[in-house]
Symmetry: C2
Subunit: 481 residues, 2 copies
Amino acid sequence: MKDKRNLSLVMDFYELTMSQCYFNDNKDKEVVFDLFYRKNPDDGGYCVFAGLEQVVDYVSNLHFEKEDIDYLRSLNQFSEDFLEYLSTIRFTGDIYAIPEGTPVFPHEPLVRVKAPIIEAQLVETALLLAINHQTLIATKSRRIVQASEGRAVMEFGARRAHNFDAAILGARAAYIAGCAGSATTYSGKEFGVPVLGTMAHSFIQSFDTEYDAFMYYAKTYPDACTLLIDTYSTLKSGIVNAIKVAKDYLEPNGYRLKGVRIDSGDMSYLSKKVRKMLDEAGMKDCKIVVSNSLDEYVIESLIHQQGAKIDSFGVGENLICSKNSPVFGGVYKMVALEKDGHMIPKIKISDNVEKVTNPGMKNLNRIMDKETGMAIADLLTLEDEVIDTTQDLTIYHPMSRWKYKVIPANTYTVRDMLVPIFKDGKLVYDLPSLEEIRAYSEKELATIWDEIKRFVYPQEYYVDLSEKLLNLKLEMLKKYK
Amino acid sequence: MKDKRNLSLVMDFYELTMSQCYFNDNKDKEVVFDLFYRKNPDDGGYCVFAGLEQVVDYVSNLHFEKEDIDYLRSLNQFSEDFLEYLSTIRFTGDIYAIPEGTPVFPHEPLVRVKAPIIEAQLVETALLLAINHQTLIATKSRRIVQASEGRAVMEFGARRAHNFDAAILGARAAYIAGCAGSATTYSGKEFGVPVLGTMAHSFIQSFDTEYDAFMYYAKTYPDACTLLIDTYSTLKSGIVNAIKVAKDYLEPNGYRLKGVRIDSGDMSYLSKKVRKMLDEAGMKDCKIVVSNSLDEYVIESLIHQQGAKIDSFGVGENLICSKNSPVFGGVYKMVALEKDGHMIPKIKISDNVEKVTNPGMKNLNRIMDKETGMAIADLLTLEDEVIDTTQDLTIYHPMSRWKYKVIPANTYTVRDMLVPIFKDGKLVYDLPSLEEIRAYSEKELATIWDEIKRFVYPQEYYVDLSEKLLNLKLEMLKKYK
């Protein structure tokens, strides 16, 4: 389902002021922009790419309605000719992108836009914000899912999200990355994310006793009964009443208590005590859900250092705001520009070596090891380069001719990672379903070595350059010196 | 303008599972919920309340369409009776809230909802996320505006925002808190936020030379020409070309160069050098704008420790994501519940003293010093209490009878801070314009002592209780022991 708002004006105002200049100058000039990022959040070793479907929505819809044009006119900065031009503009360029759910790495193009310069600029802000946000949340979610080692992770963070879209699309990104579901009902309806939820403390408080509240809930949902047991005292009251309701009502009527949830206190200590009480009551099948300030580090510690007895995790603000690392720094840089009918590579220099861009219209290749099926490295090549897998492949560090690696002939395969999304403004990509994206992501993540996925000081995944691209880059840098 | 989406389903799923229980039990039971927070972001001393207008939109619009009901039916958890009930539900309760732009403090009700229990639950998630997000961004923005000491602050963060709403409504919150404007064009059209922007590095790169790019821009916007001078080298190239364009074109044609923008490198060093060069060229009126990883701490240091020559600041991710402190922890707690026709106060206990709630339906009073006009403290009272300003006023620490303060008779005035927004489901509040909110916020912030507004270890503003409320609270706590 498409967003009913026309979000076209969600763009930095400078896209419009620049565009008016281009309009007066040479509006049909083609350019190529790469969208990439420089650093993994949380000092991690990878990201999970997400947000492409919303980019497709934005680009497909890009247009200005009369009220938009009227607003722009009211600012007294734009000529009538330019406004007239804007009123009929549509995106007519090419967009290539990595499929959603793919593990991605710094400095590689996630999206490549080739379009007339005005169109390429007008989509900048929306592309960045859509991808920055969902990639951030998918990445954080994946880390949490990874830490949980097969236990279900549920996304519970809507109330702390940075407004509606962050809740709605954050739930989508979390599901792509392997969360079992979300509490955000809208995302269930909109995207088919499984929705989950039982009760709040206020529910317990609204009954005279905790037992009454549990009993009422059990009678309403006898076959899906998970009880929140920490409103008064988890061990003295909550778990006792939960077991009582199971014995008084559920079990005599042929049902089982599905789970108990603990939302405060020490998750390790409480889960072990609760597990013991449940087991002693013959309720080994009753699951323990916890949901108190969890993130990947706490979960890893609960499982490995404390041996906590937890079956699933509900995660809130640390996931939905990526609290430890709340900014995903995707950027959008011009890498080529048409001049006299030819595309000329462009480079953005910087005193900071990390910030120098890779020039030219490029392809992104993922080099896979034939024997293990695992990813060896990503390789940026210029558009016209072809890799012959029957030859040794030499891949170069992005700034140095002297640092390279040779992959022996016939030991590797090459995957072209950028797939066509729009051609001449026409959507040519068959958008996968959310379930397909999620399954694909799981499969792709399995091709990345665990060393890369380690939370602390991960091994760096190579994103290298072909010799031809490196030579071009170093030559261009020399010219600026 | 209202959001065209029906966002009603942006609610945690448990609101619906609980509601079905209430529906079967006693759906007309009235409850009172307080929305409050416990801790200022960034260890600050205050917050700027924002997001109420979007709460009004959500509550006014709350309804489920056929497609929503169909979706809920598909989950096989809800009875037809309940779905039928949901399909006609509207909010019929009372909502009181603090006006947007008001400086607010931990543990005081920002919003008070009194409604039939189902309705009070259904609005929980949206109220929290709308207020958590905008209050977070307004607060961060205010800190940055405060640090800038009268220099203009522009919000430039859309591309790093947590998706569309975070960009759109973040710009709104930033403007309320005193930012001069935003780059997000949509927010200009939607809310009247002044929009600003000139050019990106890609614009400079798209011309053969920096001089050509500047000249083209100057000719297009001769009376609003701010040039980005750090694409190649700020001092060796950017400022030189900017001055050249001023001398070659702008000044001979009766215009002045309005400003230059520096987006990388050391803001202090560069701004001083650039200022000197501009002054020597007779361009003392040309403003210097900087925009490189700024926040309140960097700005304070630039101004006070380095004496940087900066006229205005463009702030991105640190503002729009509140990067240092990206989660605003507003909560929504039941404080009273109808029983046998009477409202019974409720308390939420916790081992953590900070987390114990203040029971009962309360008013929030701001006590103002008559002589200075400054705020002395906020005082929570029970609904039926009246403060006689001709008497001494004793205000109590929220947990202790022994810690209190006496405000002498006739030295203070009392403001009732919670104003009616909805009564019996009807909107009774005349929503102020964004300009009005912004001006009100400025005025209100001036009534808060600077000691409270200090960034580091601020003085704590008192949010105290009346004797009657404290007694009620301590009695209720005793019962749970």
